[in-house]
Symmetry: D2
Subunit: 311 residues, 4 copies
């Protein structure tokens, strides 16, 4: 579990014990985990802080209706799947979610590329950063992939992995030690040397590693949440952001189960075929024995198509 200070834990429990009556669309399955930090990596978490709308709200917006969705759940499901299939994205924008996320900075730098979202990040100019940095689990260490320039290949053997982790931990500990020296403040916030000046925080932090944890409030609509999931739950995404995307998938499944199912079926596990690729499929289904040279596909695309077709 992510470590939380006693004070933060009290605030969190107070929030969870609140209860109000509302006429708004409410989702009991999501209320169950509201405010609770769901652990990710060694010190990270995702907390659902607020949400707006549910599956019926998608239908309601698509119909520009006065009430709540349609009368029958089965009609709602059919419409939601139709909207997803035909990329009618605007009704999905009518649901909104707000998350509190704790994550390493090198992941934050990938995450923030999703521009259609609102963000408030913990300020290391204003406040002192906690001494928390990400260290990969030994079995996550892998060599540079030789076939995918931006990915991992085979796992690294146990002995080499231990040496790598020692190096990583040593450097990070050293950087955080220097940070404390520079801001002249120990773990309890007391001056290490009362005679010495404290370097401005905005400068002291620049030596900290990219593995340092930060936190932010992040708010986005369901369409853009799905887009985030599509890119970041993908096998080409870096493992350390994929695990966040996976937790978000679980959250979406509690929140809007019909829309999530449609997303998984049509987007996440759906495939795209180019003009030439679908022509290959058509020819083969007509019984033709298709040679690559007759298709317009590059060797790479040909192999990707074979993979897609499970061959």
């Amino acid at each position: 579990m992510a470590e939380i200070s006693a004070e933060d834990r009290d605030a969190l429990i107070a929030a969870q014990s609140m209860s109000a009556t509302t006429k708004r669309a409410t989702v009991p399955a999501l209320e169950e985990i509201l405010y609770e930090p769901l652990p990710v990596l060694d010190h990270g978490f995702i907390r659902v802080v607020d949400y707006m709308g549910d599956d019926a709200a998608i239908v309601q917006a698509a119909r520009v209706s006065y009430g709540k969705g349609t009368r029958q759940a089965s009609q709602d499901e059919g419409l939601i799947r139709y909207l997803m299939r035909h990329r009618h994205t605007s009704p999905f924008e009518m649901c909104e979610i707000k998350l509190h996320v704790k994550l390493p900075m090198f992941i934050a730098r990938q995450w923030i590329r999703h521009r259609t979202a609102n963000v408030n990040e913990y300020s290391a100019r204003y406040s002192i950063l906690d001494k928390e940095f990400y260290v990969p689990a030994a079995d996550q260490l892998a060599v540079q992939s030789s076939i995918n320039n931006q990915g991992r290949g085979e796992a690294i053997n146990h002995d080499d992995a231990e040496k790598i982790l020692d190096l990583m931990k040593g450097d990070a500990a050293q950087a955080f030690n220097s940070y404390e020296q520079l801001i002249n403040s120990d773990a309890d916030g007391k001056p290490i040397d009362p005679e010495r000046p404290a370097l401005a925080r905005e400068l002291a932090r620049i030596g900290l590693p990219l593995s340092t944890y930060t936190q932010w409030y992040w708010k986005t609509d369901l369409h853009n949440l799905f887009h985030f999931m599509a890119l970041r739950a993908d096998s080409h995404a870096q493992y350390e952001i994929r695990v966040y995307a996976d937790v978000i998938r679980d959250i979406a499944n509690r929140w809007v189960p019909l829309a999530s199912k449609a997303f998984e079926d049509y987007r996440l596990h759906g495939v795209e075929l180019s003009r030439d690729a679908i022509e290959v499929v058509r020819r083969r289904l007509r019984g033709e024995n298709v040679e690559r040279e007759t298709t317009g596909l590059s060797l790479r695309e040909w192999r990707e198509l074979q993979d897609l077709l499970g061959e």
Copy 2:
């Protein structure tokens, strides 16, 4: 009151009678008017359909905190005013509101220029439009302004106004009559002439006037709602969108009273002075008698400054 069909009224009452328990931030003053159409112009309305967050949520995001805002309301207010004063806009983006709006199309065309929002509009390709168009009240008719090229000048006298309204109503009635003929469907949805083909709706509607009412679901965050209010509640905005902005101001005041007050004080009723204009103020406060020729201000700017200074 805006006319609503019996069926829509039933759906609306059903929505208003829903009640659920939630741990989310809840605003009783806004719950009071949830789902209720607030009338605007002759047939328009704004309905609050959903909302996320409250004043405390702004503080909570600014602090990236675990609980709800600060412990004391007075601290919340101070921070909110500080954020507004210094244009720290991102915490205000952490509140979201969803409105159902009925409005004439010429206003919809102005409204949609606010791009940072989500929209689902009633489709006149898919559905038949209601026979509803905006007719100005007689006392809203005014001549083209001679000093403001995009505004209204003096009111038009009663007799001329009556003639203008007759012309407007006659043309609109004629256009809607043609619409019914083209789609071959009377007010009850029955074919006017079963032998005749019905023109596609997407073509039949192109002769309808810009005063025709449309509807949409519109969702945006509080920062962008304030921006909308700043531009559209301004005296230079067209009267017909200003009345919508005024209703939204009332809604915001119920929803986030502290933030709304700060917005009114710092933005809506605040003023901007150029480098040259503030220099004029400084010189005058030092007792200098300032002539325009010594200031760098154009005649127009000089007069605007005098207006601002209440002279």
Copy 3:
């Protein structure tokens, strides 16, 4: 050809005769048609007013390189196709285009839904609108589709079409006649009756039909231009916006031929298959005789899949 006033034609010719030397990426095939109004519908046009970047600029940004793209054109093409195939969209955002478009207002209302663009529209509050409205060609008139609720079905026979066009033209002429009366200004800008007041333009225009032409400057990046084309060149889009999308396709083909080809191959003529649909294809390619009941596909999806497979 779109009608342009003598004055506008002079300004246009002056712009076309300008010539400067630049170190920027320049595309001769696009320079050929720069500033020239390309006609669309009965009175509309698209003019390319400016552009930034070319095919090589996409590669240059993807590589974050100091020079221009790669050394060999074939490498550029391979990379561009890879980026398009894997939806690496950000390099395509590094090209930008600015268009001057004249279009009917009911199309403008669809067009403006593309939010990631910059727009300056002719103001009917500030200026007087030209007396120009769209009238469909007789062979474009079609009945409401019985299978597609938002589309057209069979063409309407010649006699009925003539009656419809007469009705459309008559109503529009009447609305424009009233407009002139209300603003008290004839086609030459002279008062019709010097004794009568002129109604404010912002009010006078509300009775004009949705078929009235407007104009705007519209600027967007290549990624969003492709997204526009994907949605608006699609067979489900209304004919009157599709013809604009088709002209834009021709422009893109002059401007960035490699990227345009990749877009056509992977996006515009590519297909998407859901998790269940691709499984059907796999089973059939293994020689299985697949019945719909065993697939998870609805009847509608089953038929869509058969269409895609050319069966």
Copy 4:
């Protein structure tokens, strides 16, 4: 000067020696510095890679005109100043600029918060990072401010500064040394130990400091460039991003001198006064001796107002 490899320098010179004829708006003063790296900080730079539009293009879009701006430069200037003064922002969006920027990652994290822009960043998953990190100049080291929680106070004396810089340099050198060990690649790209595996780049880089330099292509429109300058050239911005904003101001001044002047006059050096603050000014100009207690201003706001008024 920023160090550039011989290969990059060749590519750069090749780009600078290109010359084409264009009908597009062209700005000779900006062409002069096109592609040239303008140095910032110890290893950073900004290069203008491309641009679209000029001062006249702002006017052209505001008028939705066929030709180029107005006939007289003085009219252009008047209109541009009017647009800036009244926050008519959309015409400024019609100019676009593309920059290649090299900057430390802690600055990149602030910069990227400007969402309305296009970005392509050098990938440390795909490629090996250069061994370049930012070290502040000794005279830039300052203590944490006691009055501004997110800023710097007094300068640090020479001896303490030297110790701090030694600590910073030592830690960064150590982190880069570990990076080379982990990716098993020396400065020339040769394996340090051919027997040892190379850790995946996406993992090896997580121990690098936030002061590590990265690079990106960044493209935005003039309105958003001004917004960037307003926030980042402000005295509250961190020094290390302010120096980038200052270089951008110089670039904007070459590119669009009229719009830049208007921006400096009305935005950058303009001031905002709240409803209560402008009332204080009005009362004082009427000769009243105003006490804070009668004004509604907090002590902090009162002092801010006195500062603004130069008292």
